[in-house]
Symmetry: C2
Subunit: 506 residues, 2 copies
């Protein structure tokens, strides 16, 4: 392994607990609740879920799998393929698992990422039979040092009857010191979360665990799992430019300074394009108070634009995964990971006045946002932390290209086929066509703005719907319920949301 | 007036500012933003809005009216009738105003009640030209003592260019000491809200104001405005019983004690029936951490069930309005009013672990809740504080009778015609048919539970929709978008949501 295990497992009470992944997997019984580390493919155990999946090939059992967020091929995918998951909470993003969920083969609760720890604490998800946590080390004091995410690991470890630690012997030792582990007490018994500025360190460098609960330690040499690198293209670049124009206007109006406010950005191509665009913008001395730190954040630190970044997990491209060991040294003191219930906590987001931008799947003409369901039925990934931030942010922004599927789908529709963020929660929508600032506007005025940032090919039929709804039905939020999903049903029947000319004019 | 004005206006800097309501109303110019006290008909100025409305009969001007929440006949209604309101924020509940909003004659932003103060602070609702605040007194130190609500008055006074104080000379002097006024600093510059248990007093007894900003003091003798008394009937009693059964089961399961957790209840007949039912229940030593305190809360204090109650406003029946002066003395030290951004603040709600129950207009089979819009278009009142509590509560409960309009409307529908609270935010639904505990359940299992608490006459057609959606479309959240609003369109066409037999079986 190249490393002396006693340098990694530095507390002797743990050293004699090493077992094979197969043995650890053999302890799991049908119906158990597993709390597993892992968030956006980082920090998840790998040998354990592979061994458990392998067991599933010959044995009939199912478990409920609770995590931080999305796991990768060795966990979510292999376990879904093995058919050993009954219920998955609170987020996933794996194509194999998604298809099984949509086929009704496994159950899924799509939950606000700040809520899961509270649910575990209250017992509404049942007891945690096993916590399975990937770790970079165990300290002399017996603290578990997580790897590239914190997620829900602290609450899983606290509440679990048994703990399995998967030591990743390839994990950079510089993970130690990256984390800020703060554990909340029961509701009604807790104090404030003492974060008053983004970089305040409030917790410990690792997760406390009762050694008596640690049933086994599994060793792994499996490397971190990269995510696709999202290079900006013309469209995402235009969305980014529009968002930066909105920010610039806020500065001009005196509502923000050039250091903006602590910034949260969703994961994906648009977010990366925005971060990329900031490198050469007027904005500087920015603090990032996010959920996931992507490549772009490092680039912005390099460019001197971002001065500090907190989150709960990495999501990195292959290039950044390869340089992670040196990057952790390089960015020491400039990045920090907290448990997801802290990074996403309404108390912290509201106090700091975070600016939030996340990706929408579709948006309706009154500003309701669908983040999760294609045509209202098939779940994509999940709401993730977008709701935690959207509801409590200083400015809540959603971004989306105005078209999808080569123009067959309009992101702006009359009525969202699933509402994840309601009209009460949404401030600004950005497409490549421009931005719609909905703040201070009643529904009918929001519609005017939103139709203007739809793709030009869809504007006439959106306007036709809106005008007909105002004229024939009226009301505070004019809708013709018979036609509210006409875009979606047309897509299903004819393969496009583009209605025929005569239908538009009916 | 019976009282010596210098006993009420105890700071000399204010005494010579008394003007007539007509004069104060004459200062208002077309396009101005007015921040007015008042919440659920309590604590609103009366002479000033009447005078302003009177001015509107002969003069053409419009103002934007921001308040705490709903105002009564002398304010919302008279101003709506006079046609002098352009934009109303963040809540209303007056029939005349509602009709004007739905007719498109005045604009309305239906906003989370904890958000308005932040919007004013950030400047996204424009500057406040005039704050108009009803007061019981002005202290020697120049603090404005509010009357029966706090609402958004502190932020209006802080940010307004000019302040008009309407002294209600009939207000009980015991209002002094009821209020706990805590003002938040800008986001990014503030500390925690130091409330760790419901009764913690954190602020001042009145609202600080720069005397130089106080342009006039208007005198009023108009009494407080009562709300209808909601006597329990068989249906609301059954809903209350079902909710209390849910609570009893939580105690049995060890998730709650008999003192429950701090309780928030919406306004109205079901809430009052629940409070009424608690008088003879197993629950005791309850703390109320709510938005509005209704008659029922006093009765529970009398019964020794509630030991302390905080909110931001009263909503009282005629009987309780009449005894208010003595009640304020009697319940001194047992009730407290805070600004609505504090009573409804996610930080406080989440920390204390408040149990929230509010009324739903309709609920869909997957647990999405409509609180605001009839058939998706006509707004009723607004979301109020329900979203502030629902998102952050320890347990989020919505209550509704399963039927409305003599059976023509089912409260459980395939797809909500407006989403105010999403599937991610809703824990328990209660009707007179029973309760559906949705916690820890994926969408298709929630549907099973929710169909069971629909009225029996609607269960077959709900089940038919659900089964067809599962079979023909599938997905994580099965829907047939063509039929998603079939209940609503049937109601529009035939006057009932009850579909024909043949349609059900299609």
């Amino acid at each position: 392994m190249g490393k002396d295990l006693s340098q990694i497992i530095r507390n002797k009470a743990f050293l004699d607990k090493v077992v094979s992944a197969e043995e650890a997997a053999s302890w799991i019984e049908d119906g158990m609740n597993l709390g597993m580390s892992g968030f956006t493919l980082f920090g998840e155990p790998k040998e354990f879920p592979l061994a458990l999946s392998k067991r599933g090939e010959n044995e009939k059992f199912k478990v409920n799998l609770y995590t931080g967020a999305s796991l990768g091929p060795t966990a979510d995918q292999s376990m879904a393929e093995a058919g050993i998951i009954n219920l998955r909470v609170p987020y996933q993003g794996n194509a194999v698992m998604r298809n099984k969920i949509n086929a009704g083969e496994l159950f899924y609760i799509d939950q606000h990422l700040s809520h899961t720890a509270e649910e575990v604490r209250k017992g509404t998800l049942g007891k945690i039979d096993y916590a399975i946590i990937e770790a970079a080390a165990i300290t002399e004091d017996g603290l578990i040092i997580p790897t590239g995410s914190v997620g829900n690991s602290p609450i899983f470890v606290e509440k679990a009857e048994n703990v399995i630690i998967e030591i990743n012997t390839t994990a950079p030792s510089a993970y130690e010191g990256l984390h800020d582990i703060y554990v909340l007490k029961e509701q009604g018994e807790r104090r404030e979360i003492p974060i008053y500025s983004v970089g305040d360190r409030i917790g410990e460098i690792g997760i406390k665990v009762d050694p008596a609960k640690v049933k086994g330690i599994v060793l792994s040499e499996q490397p971190d799992i990269p995510s696709p690198l999202f290079e900006p293209n013309e469209e995402t670049q235009q969305i980014a430019d529009n968002l930066l124009e909105f920010f610039a206007n806020e500065v001009k109006e005196g509502r923000l300074s050039n250091s903006l406010a602590p910034l949260q950005s969703g994961v994906g191509s648009v977010a990366n394009a925005v971060l990329n665009g900031m490198k050469t913008s007027q904005f500087k001395d920015i603090e990032v108070a996010s959920e996931v730190l992507q490549d772009g954040v490092f680039d912005l630190i390099d460019a001197g634009v971002v001065k500090f970044a907190v989150g709960t997990a990495f999501s990195l491209s292959k290039k950044r995964v390869e340089s992670l060991a040196e990057d952790l040294e390089k960015y020491k003191g400039k990045i920090m990971f907290r448990p997801q219930e802290i990074s996403n906590h309404p108390e912290v987001i509201r106090r700091l006045g975070v600016i939030s931008f996340n990706t929408a799947l579709e948006v309706d003409i009154y500003g309701n946002v669908n983040s999760t369901h294609v045509s209202g039925t098939r779940v994509m990934n999940g709401i993730g932390g977008s709701g935690d931030f959207a509801r409590n942010a200083r400015i809540t922004i959603f971004v989306t290209p105005s078209l999808a599927k080569n123009g067959a789908i309009s992101a702006i529709v009359p009525f969202v086929s699933h509402a994840d963020h309601t009209e009460h929660d949404v401030d600004v929508i950005v497409t490549e066509q421009g931005y719609a600032d909905l703040r201070g506007l009643p529904p009918v005025k929001r519609a005017e703005k939103l139709i203007e940032i739809a793709h030009p090919s869809y504007r006439p039929q959106l306007r036709a719907y809106f005008e007909e709804a105002k004229e024939k039905v009226g009301g505070h939020t004019p809708h013709i319920l018979e036609k509210a999903f006409s875009f979606h049903t047309n897509l299903k029947e004819k393969g496009t949301m583009l209605l025929e000319e005569e239908k538009i004019n009916n």
